[in-house]
Symmetry: C2
């Protein structure tokens, strides 16, 4: 019942050749090693017949390569990261790599343990969405000399190749949509985490407000990441009490939840307030109002990340510590 796996030596025995020869043929090195064509052909045929599948662990042990790319995101259930994972999966597959993933939940300890098991598995490369205080984990990995590229955010104190959306620009453009409508007070919502991308968005928000052609003040509310929904309720109420007539959400989570909460507070609110949100989940297409948002170039990020990772793994000496900022796309709908 328990069918034994076919190994190189099974094939070798059946054909009365050496294991080495079979290996050479099956790894496509027959020509360079001048194996006779007819022999190579027969070996290939036999392998097919027996249903040979290479044992990747054995190969990996010998070669030191696993063919695995480790991806660590904040939460794979978040559509932004899910989509990202999907594109990365595709791009990696094109290059013959498999993807293994882990969700950090914005927790540096989890991040660290994921990275460390990935390392144990000899991943050939790492694509990491760093979290607050992940400097130490990243330093360890850098010392270990594993090819790594960071995406989505920077990590303070770490010099490493990075691909992410131009968050400042997004925050700036989004806020300007609101400013054009002459709102008097635009409240901004962001996590209380020290995440470079969210901070950049807020920086864009602030700059836009400062450069506005009329008098307007920033108003920023930080949401405790461990208690998002409750905190957001409080914050939203406070924004209303403080006469905010428009709202800026620094990410999809905050945007979506706010839409829900505002409606619960008062069904008229969503229509009366001006709103814009970073990220572009499908939910924003069917919400009322349809949320004006800033779509990150997820596919482009994935492509560039894999391209850069592959070139690093191949040892092509790309100039260290590149920072690639990709522009997103403003999606004008009807919430402003």
């Amino acid at each position: 019942m328990a069918k034994k796996r076919i190994t190189l030596s099974d094939i070798a025995k059946e054909m009365n050749v050496s294991v080495g020869l079979v290996s050479l043929v099956l790894s496509g090195k027959a020509k360079e090693n001048r194996i006779r064509d007819d022999v190579a052909e027969k070996v290939l045929e036999k392998a097919r017949e027996l249903g040979y599948q290479a044992n990747i662990m054995a190969r990996g042990l010998r070669t030191g390569k696993s063919g695995i790319i480790g991806l660590v995101v904040a939460d794979i259930a978040n559509p932004f990261f899910g989509t990202l994972a999907r594109y990365i999966e595709n791009e990696a597959a094109k290059q013959g790599y498999q993807v293994m993933f882990g969700s950090s939940d914005e927790d540096p300890d989890k991040l660290n343990s994921i990275i460390s098991t990935f390392h144990s598995r000899q991943v050939d490369g790492l694509i990491i969405v760093p979290v607050e205080k992940s400097k130490k984990s990243l330093e360890i990995i850098q010392n270990q000399n594993v090819s790594t590229v960071l995406i989505d955010r920077e990590c303070e104190g770490i010099k490493e190749d990075l691909i992410c959306t131009d968050n400042y620009l997004g925050g700036f453009e989004l806020t300007n949509v609101l400013i054009k409508e002459k709102y008097k007070k635009i409240g901004a919502f962001v996590y209380n985490l020290n995440l470079s991308n969210n901070m950049e968005r807020i920086r864009g928000y602030k700059d836009a407000i400062q450069q506005a052609d009329y008098e307007i003040e920033p108003w920023i509310y930080k949401i405790d990441f461990n208690n998002i929904e409750k905190e957001l309720e409080k914050g939203l109420q406070k924004a209303i009490d403080n006469c905010c007539d428009a709202l800026f959400f620094a990410n999809n989570n905050l945007g979506i939840l706010s839409l829900k909460i505002l409606w619960n507070i008062d069904k008229k609110l969503p229509k009366e307030l001006g709103m814009v949100s970073f990220d572009n989940p499908e939910a924003f297409e069917i919400s009322r109002p349809r949320m004006t948002s800033y779509a990150q170039p997820i596919e482009e990020i994935s492509k560039q990340a894999i391209a850069m990772l592959i070139s690093k793994m191949k040892g092509v000496q790309a100039p260290k510590n590149q920072r690639i900022l990709l522009p997103g796309k403003l999606i004008l709908r009807d919430s402003q």
Copy 2:
């Protein structure tokens, strides 16, 4: 620069003991092999000091285990599967397993190639969302004797353990919500794929209609999976032309897209039509109308799937070919 990995033998050399002893200690088998406590302690200490990380490929080669669970879903970017992946990741981690995933795109060839690379990697177990015509791939895997559990849907002609939502019940309950409102003609939308879960939902829909306490006819429209948006536009228009006054969507994708399309056709439509949808993405909470839906017990599915998989991997002879149907939850909102 390229820091060498620490191996058992590095530790052994530094401490003048044998590799075997170090292995025994680090794999927690010191006691049963009566290694002296002080020796064990020192080895542990040294390993920590040098930053030892086991080489999992070497271990895997020796033990035949990889510690990896392969998960193949239709599309990791779909929030349903993303959430599923997340729970599976968590549950697997609790048992010391890592998850590797692949997206099949409902394509049997892709499914097959994913399964086959997973097998090459010696995954210890497989959790598979089967697609149309995946019988052959699954038979191969069954012959290979890899522990497998199917989730979300059945695969025609394959006897294998299965965990999924009680789709029939969901379709039935959802339709009854509409029937209670006395709609005259309820149009149902479903993919043209032969997926057991979607079929079951439609069966529930049909039965509910047949058992209704007033005269009503089923009206079903099948959407070509390769051209969903265009087809859906056509179908929705047709439903309206055919005087449907309510709509039943067999999954989240169809529900979300329809909400968007209907609004584009005529902004009054979403309010005028009765609607219900299978699945419960967050989008349904902020759409207008808020969509009444049937939430699948994703966490429960994941937990049971991992539990069953682990017990199969451990060789606990669970009665073959279990079929576990888990009830979902009707979420009443205001689209009916």
